[in-house]
């Protein structure tokens, strides 16, 4: 058993703060890039439906590859550290966002688009004022899934010298320091839950707002 004073004694707080900020840094960049690319892919595929099958097949295949395999496979090209970790996170997290964005846009009721067109909105205005806002609840559900993915991949980045809380766990393993392992792992879990909860609140707000769609 671990008791609290033991934890407080053992943890190098300085180090944990440093690792946490690395973790959040990688996580934020990865999730922002995923959202950016996910939305672009979703919107493009919505407009060019023909491409959707092939693109989603590719993304699905990427999704089935084990993360560690991908991290290692990319070593020769991207080396060690944060860059390949963020890259792989984005590869994984794009699919849920792109797919939900695509589905959400496709499901916007045709009569809204028709009315928008008829009162004189151009195609870009229809996309930004009508389609995207109406697809937003679905898109945010996709982002929630990606948040959990990203937190996991970023933690694994510790294995390839990316720093972050994965590195703390690594250190714990090497020093055979169970407390450090537990504290870091739980801390990752709490962070994931925190960001997920944040997204959940946004999602719920949007769903309430759009509950008649």
């Amino acid at each position: 058993m671990i008791n609290l004073s033991e934890i407080i004694n053992f943890i190098n707080f300085q180090d944990l703060i440093q690792r946490t900020s690395e973790q959040i840094y990688m996580f934020s960049i990865a999730i922002l890039l995923s959202i950016l690319f996910g939305l672009i892919i979703g919107i493009v595929l919505h407009r060019v439906q023909k491409l959707s099958n092939i693109v989603f097949n590719i993304l699905n295949i990427i999704e089935t590859l084990p993360t560690i395999a991908l991290l290692v496979l990319l070593l020769p090209f991207l080396g060690l550290g944060m860059k390949p970790t963020i890259f792989v996170s984005v590869l994984y997290a794009i699919l849920p966002i792109a797919r939900n964005c695509y589905v959400g846009l496709n499901n916007v009721e045709q009569s809204y688009i028709e009315v928008a067109r008829s009162i004189g909105l151009n195609e870009f205005e229809i996309l930004t004022k009508i389609e995207i806002p109406l697809a937003l609840p679905t898109i945010v559900s996709g982002i929630r899934i990606s948040i959990v993915f990203t937190m996991g991949v970023v933690t694994l980045g510790g294995l390839i010298a990316a720093g972050g809380l994965g590195a703390s766990i690594q250190t714990g393993v090497q020093l055979y320091d169970k407390t450090l392992i537990y504290v870091s792992a739980v801390w990752v879990g709490i962070l994931a839950l925190f960001f997920d909860a944040l997204a959940y609140l946004v999602e719920r707000f949007l769903q309430k707002r759009f509950n008649n769609v």
Binding site: E109, S111, Y112, E114, V115, A116, R117, S118, I119, G120, L121, N122, E125, K129, I130, P133, L134, L136, R209, F210, N211, N212, V213
Partner: protein
């Protein structure tokens, strides 16, 4: 605005097909400026398709549409649409925007300043008989009729000279439809716009339309004023369509007196005991009673209230337990107005009084069944 006024719309040899189905099969017609032109016909006959060729939501296979003698294909499509209001049956209010944003979206995109938008929104609300308190609400917080009014307001925002309406009252119940039609007739007078109005309800066509085009299977069967269609129907199809209105026409002239039912089985004297009143209702198989004192109307009661009262222990006189809030009509009141009032106050039974004496009663549900 490309057009300040719409003086004519000419549809020339228009054809639109979906694979082997001819949705519009060689239609030509001319709509005059400021008239309310109704297109009527059965489901699937091509009304919506024809309407949508006017704002180019649908491009025809051949033939053309000319507004003020301009071929609309030569106009910028977005600019064209900003000159044409469009209202649909599903209303299609944007659910993520409040009422004000729904109405003013196009004004914002046009870059109008805030004060001008506010002023315009208030103006249109007055036109469509909608209170300003709804501006901050969202579409799902409004009733069907209110949503329809907002849909119309949105279509009028830019003061477009041409208005296309596709079964705008199709999804509301008969009484509300009648009310919206009445309002719309007033709105029409105020606006002085050219309006193309699609419906499959001949009564609506007769009430609203200056001229009526009867469509069937992608073709126009006849165009004319209501009288032309009634007196000189072009074929048996038009004849049947017009005939189907006879009973409705009759009804719009009806007075409350014509449909009220006798009150004998409902009359309860104010001095009667509750228990006796209940027996009386059960015997006559009614659930509703009219209470009179020396033949003068006092109020109403219903079986449920009486049964729930404490009559076994305390069998009072019925005059201690009646409902004063009832609808009372004169026998000369037009039936439609009476039904509208009943609907509005959500009371399904009304008593008809002549010099305070009940002479009849009407039950809204029962009357609607008889009308349809």
């Amino acid at each position: 605005m490309i057009f300040k006024n719409v003086d004519s719309i000419e549809i020339v040899r228009l054809v639109k097909s979906y694979r082997d189905l001819m949705a519009i099969n060689d239609v030509s017609l001319k709509i005059n400026g400021k008239e309310l032109f109704v297109i009527i016909g059965p489901s699937g006959c091509g009304k919506t398709t024809l309407l949508k060729t006017i704002n180019r939501l649908i491009e025809p296979d051949s033939g053309g549409v000319f507004i003020n003698n301009n071929d609309i294909r030569n106009l910028d499509v977005v600019k064209l649409r900003k000159n044409i209001g469009y209202v649909i049956q599903q209303v299609g209010l944007f659910p993520h925007m409040n009422i004000k944003d729904n109405i003013s979206l196009i004004l914002k995109l046009e870059g109008w300043p805030r004060e001008k938008i506010d002023k315009r929104v208030k103006e249109i609300l007055k036109i469509v008989f909608l209170d300003e308190i709804y501006l901050r609400k969202f579409p799902n917080q409004l009733s069907g009729g209110q949503q329809q009014r907002v849909g119309l307001a949105r279509a009028l925002a830019l003061n477009q000279p041409l208005l296309l309406m596709d079964e705008p009252f199709g999804s509301v119940d008969p009484i509300l439809r009648r009310q919206l039609q009445d309002e719309f007739l007033q709105i029409k007078k105020v606006l002085g716009k050219t309006i193309v109005f699609v419906t499959h309800d001949i009564e609506e066509a007769f009430r609203l339309g200056d001229r009526i085009a009867v469509m069937k299977g992608g073709k126009i069967k006849q165009i004319g004023e209501a009288n032309d269609l009634i007196l000189n129907p072009a074929d048996s199809f038009v004849l049947n369509l017009v005939e189907s209105d006879k009973k409705y026409k009759h009804i719009s002239n009806l007075k409350v007196r014509d449909v009220m039912i006798p009150v004998k089985n409902y009359m309860i004297d104010s001095q009667a005991k509750i228990s006796d009143s209940i027996k009386f209702m059960l015997k006559n198989n009614t659930e509703f009673g009219i209470i009179v004192k020396k033949d003068k109307f006092l109020g109403t009661t219903d079986l449920k209230t009486l049964l729930n009262s404490n009559f076994i222990k305390n069998d009072q006189k019925i005059e201690n337990l009646y409902n004063k809030e009832t609808l009372k009509f004169s026998p000369e009141k037009p039936l439609y107005d009476a039904l509208a009032e009943m609907k509005k106050s959500n009371i399904s039974i009304a008593v008809i009084l002549e010099r305070d004496v009940p002479i009849g009663t009407i039950l809204s549900s029962e009357i609607l069944n008889r009308l349809i």
